[in-house]
Amino acid sequence: MSARGRAIAAVALRRAAAAAWQARFGLRRGRARREAVARQLRLACEDLGPAFIKLGQLASVRPDVFGPEVVFELERLQDRIPAAPYAEVRAIVTAELGAPPERVFASFDPEPVATASIAQVHAATLRRDVRPVVGAPLAAGTRLAVKVVRPGAEAAIAADLGVARRWAARLARVPRLARWRPEALLGEFEATLASELDLRNEGRVADRFAFDFADDPLVVVPRVVWPHTTRRVLTTEFVDGWRLSELGDAQRAGIDARGLAAHGAEVFLRQVLHFGRFHADLHPANLFVTPDGRICYLDFGIVGRTTPGQRIAIAQVLAALVHGDAERALRYSRVLGLEVPAARVGEVRSAVDGLMRAHLLGRGSTDVRGFALGFLAMLADFRIAVPEGYGLLVKALVTVEGVARAIYPDIDIVETAGPFATRLIAAQLAQPERLRERVPAALRAALRELVA
């Protein structure tokens, strides 16, 4: 075993022992035990560095594979990575852009403004006018954010993934763990990670998002400077603002926080229900509020997709949640791939009904997170598989609630979603192809009614 392999094994054993202790060697049951294991799993990822932090972050958007406790614990993963030395960053920029940063840009700050497991961001200034894909031209002198893949990040991640692959092969031979398909899952994560390491992909998704929301004055997506963007360098305009975690009462006082929070939720619903692609990695570090009261979206690393058929079903599920209709929610969840065995439909419907009453229909503000946690745990208890896209969506909805509440703590996300879902269902039903199916039947019914 390599030195790195031994280090990984040591961390895994230490964290497993801590989890066993916190779970009182199995004496603590159910959720408490699962939460203890999830916490140690997160700490193990943080101990093991960039590749495992990234794997943990990818696992946090897969409630179809991992239990709700693990998923919601892993979303708290934090990159506490020291900044890479400027000389190494300079070497990467020089290799990628053909000249050192001080010649490519009018200015380039050697101190990063942000660091993360894969890349770090430096402030810079544009040397010449540039025409972006979406939006007005960027003039020389515009402030920029230059994201640079950390020196050695790709090699370190490749080495760690090599170790992880050997572990996955071993775990796949353990009967109780085989159902997680560790090797296949790791393969999926590797593909996502490879895509994230090529920063051009993020730039393309950002452009598409900017195009989709070009008509929305409250949405800001930093414009990409393509002549200074390559596989390992992504250059965008720098947008000033407050991260959601920094948003205090003073900042909220200067903007329409309630309106912005509701609008943020609508923007997400438009992504899911209208455009069919959504930012699936929203968290407080990935978006902020600008001083003039707009929402700025960053980091388009993980994107979820919905087909036209799924969009109608999702709108119906949302409408069912708003109106507390468990039967309807389950009926349309089936369209999204959620297979409830016939013998258990009654029990599951009753459980969903109970969760809706507890978290969505009670007095006061609704609690989507509580509902989602209970719903996913209930599915796990009934051993009902969660389809991948469905799980991602549930998780994303919870995140949107968290984000909206970070902007305006008293917002009721379900109340906000109601009118939008209803409008969308109406719009979908009014589409020519749907009308063609429905109008003759409706007219026949009306005729029968009239002549009866």
Binding site: G98, V133, L443
Partner: protein, 97 residues
């Protein structure tokens, strides 16, 4: 269909003279409405993108695709220039300079 034909020949006021003429007139009305909707719907799909808002939307989508391609080209050119600079062929920053 016979009811529809009868209904189409019904004159104003005749449909109030009993259940049968009323049903015929209504059937004709419904059939006409269906025809109108069918024409509208099939016309709409045949000439998809035909109305000014649809054309504007199609134009915006095309412009975005072109701009996206331009962005890719600019990025690739940056990579080409970088490799060329490393080979000592030319200095892109100096050229722009």
């Amino acid at each position: 269909m016979a009811a529809v034909e009868r209904g189409r020949t019904t004159r104003v006021g005749e449909s109030a003279e009993g259940a049968e003429p009323f049903a015929d007139a209504l059937a004709a009305l419904v059939a006409d409405e269906k025809d109108r909707l069918r024409r509208e719907l099939t016309g709409g799909s045949a000439a998809a993108g035909g109305t000014p808002p649809e054309l504007a939307s199609a134009l915006a989508a095309l412009r975005f695709e072109v701009a996206e391609l331009r962005g890719r080209m600019e990025s690739l050119q940056a990579s080409v220039d970088a490799v060329a600079a490393r080979l000592g062929e030319r200095d892109p920053a100096g050229e722009e300079g």
